[in-house]
């Protein structure tokens, strides 16, 4: 007989208690500390900060712990917190040329001022499971040496100096913010880049990959990828000058792409740009490829591929939005389903009344 669908509140409370229990897991296993997550799952923290668009390692580590390692859930937690924070202004543009370099490579020049700095990378490792990591490992600290160079000019700047690559547009000072104003189309490049920087790594990776396979090919070279710390400065009205707030780690990717030119302009290389918090090279490179693909119209290229479709890319890149809407199908829909069920029964009844041999077009009469 009919069971009243009551007691939702208690069921929810119990589900949350069970979740907390599962999150902690076996009590004989030591609990994870935020420091452990920050230090030993650092790239996960980087990703959560980047797509959560909030630079705070401790909060990102907390989000990862609370989300039981579900990265999109952790990103969501960070976003939901970020949105409550007051905005007191925007920092000065960061100077990535003045970066304290941890890693810097170029695929376009064998050597260049500053050299190739490999830094901490999975590249060239053999992907063999390292069973020594199953137990406590005793890792000797890495050797260090004084840096040869204090500053590393960017490859794009070196090329721009000789007129071989397009210059970047002059900064106007007005930068959009899609978390404060709803995104509309066509979107400026500032908003596109903001959207991509917050966008899902997997989504951007797949789109970038699609351009390489011919869906909007743009002939990229990894001009430069650099990872390290940059100073953040804030112009304080009261003081009348920019005050340093601290340093953040970022990864920047400058893609050098196929040239463009016209009757009045000499042919030159074009650029795609990618940036992310922490060390997130896959994300930065994918972003740079998609940024370049989205410039198709501006550069007078044919634009028929998914990665070149601004509305398609920008409307679907946000994994917090995407996961919410996909997962909302878990919510009850029985009222709508009932309406559909009723309509379907009616159509079926009419169908069987007519007899199956009568063609469907009679229905219009």
């Amino acid at each position: 007989m009919y069971v009243a669908v009551k007691g939702g509140e208690r069921a929810i409370d119990n589900a949350h208690a069970l979740l907390a229990d599962k999150r902690r897991g076996d009590r004989n296993v030591p609990e994870l500390s935020l420091d452990q997550i920050d230090n030993q799952l650092a790239l996960g923290v980087d990703r959560v900060m980047c797509e959560g668009s909030l630079y705070d390692r401790e909060l990102a580590a907390l989000a990862i712990k609370q989300a039981r390692g579900d990265m999109i859930e952790a990103i969501f937690l960070l976003r939901a917190y970020r949105t409550t924070l007051p905005r007191f202004g925007a920092s000065e543009p960061i100077d990535t040329g003045a970066m304290d370099i941890r890693r810097r490579i170029s695929a376009t020049f064998k050597d260049l001022p500053g050299g190739q700095v490999l830094g901490p990378t999975f590249d060239y490792t053999h992907r063999l499971l390292d069973h020594t990591l199953t137990a406590d490992s005793d890792v000797a600290p890495a050797a260090t040496a004084p840096a040869d160079e204090a500053t590393f000019r960017s490859v794009a700047d070196l090329l721009a100096g000789s007129g071989l690559i397009e210059g970047e547009a002059e900064a106007t000072g007005d930068v959009g913010d899609l978390t404060r104003e709803p995104l509309s189309f066509p979107a400026g490049r500032d908003l596109r880049l903001q959207n991509l920087a917050r966008g899902d790594e997997g989504f951007l990776l797949a789109l970038a990959y699609s351009t390489q396979r011919g869906f909007g090919r743009n002939h990229p070279f990894a001009g430069e990828i650099r990872y390290g710390e940059v100073e953040i400065e804030f112009f304080a009205e009261d003081a009348g000058f920019a005050v340093p707030l601290g340093a953040i780690a970022i990864t920047e990717c400058q893609m050098v792409n196929q040239f463009t030119g016209s009757a009045t302009q000499a042919p030159r290389f074009t650029r795609g740009y990618g940036i992310s918090f922490g060390q997130s090279e896959r994300k930065s490179m994918a972003m740079a490829l998609v940024d370049r693909a989205l410039r198709a119209r501006e550069l007078g290229e044919e634009a028929g591929s998914p990665a070149q479709d601004e509305e398609f890319v920008l409307s679907h890149s946000d994994n917090v939005q995407a996961t919410g809407f996909v997962e909302h199908l878990k919510l009850p829909h029985y009222v709508d389903f009932q309406a559909e069920l009723g309509l379907l029964r009616k159509l079926q009844a009419e169908f069987f009344e007519r007899g199956t041999e009568i063609p469907m077009q009679d229905a219009a009469e």
């Binding site: 007989m1 509140e9 978390t179 919410g324 009222v335 229905a363």
Partner: protein, 293 residues
Amino acid sequence: MTAPVYNFAYLDEQTKRMIRRAILKAIAIPGYQVPFASREMPMPYGWGTGGVQVTAAILGPQDVLKVIDQGSDDTTNAVSIRKFFTRTAGVRTTTATLEATVIQTRHRVPETALNENQVLVYQVPIPEPLRFLEPRETETRRMHALSEYGLMHVKLYEDIARHGHIATAYAYPVQVDSRYVMDPSPIPKFDNPKLSNCAALQLFGAGREKRIYAIPPYTRVTSLDFDDHPFEPYRHDASCELCNATESYLDEVITDDEGHRMFVCSDTDFCEQRRAAGHGPVAARPQAEAAHD
């Protein structure tokens, strides 16, 4: 790391002002979708963030809030949203439709007629009625601007040609004040007539899609149809087995493994009020299982 301190009804006052401006514009242009800078809320997109932001923006300490999902106060998401406002705003909540000053709903319009002191806030997943005919926002905005709604009529006509009926059972498109075609949110078309000439203000919030729209009180809202195929609200040819209501929207509940089913009011408050007033089930009456019309 600082522990967060939240404002009344969660959103900061700046954000509330921004949302209120969007609401005022929406009321001034009935049925028009006003873009607004939707915030990330502590519940997922698609779970009512638009409705929650609208409610947060209009809620005052004196308000009495009711939250329903599928017509019921007890569905999990309704419970969750009600709890959210109890915690962040401390407002009084109710399940009684007539006691509430603000009613947030998903997928239903209450059966009880609303009054001028009430606001009905709808949660909207896809605010654009033309979206499934034209996926591009740039295009659909132009179509609205030019009142270019031919495509929608062609779709409805094709339904009739193929099925003999307009094959839309919920989120049935309406036209507001003879101007904008509007998605009434995924309410069953049974509820569409309640939108028209309603005494309460009706606000629609779509968080993920960043749109707010409104139907001011006593505004004419018509469901799209044709002269020879007029709009007909659908209802099961049955009555509620708990309160014997014949005019309410019914949920079908499967009662055993043999597929037996019964019908009960989807609006739980409506059903409870009727039972409290002495309406009871009709004993052992066989329920019609087929749809009427």
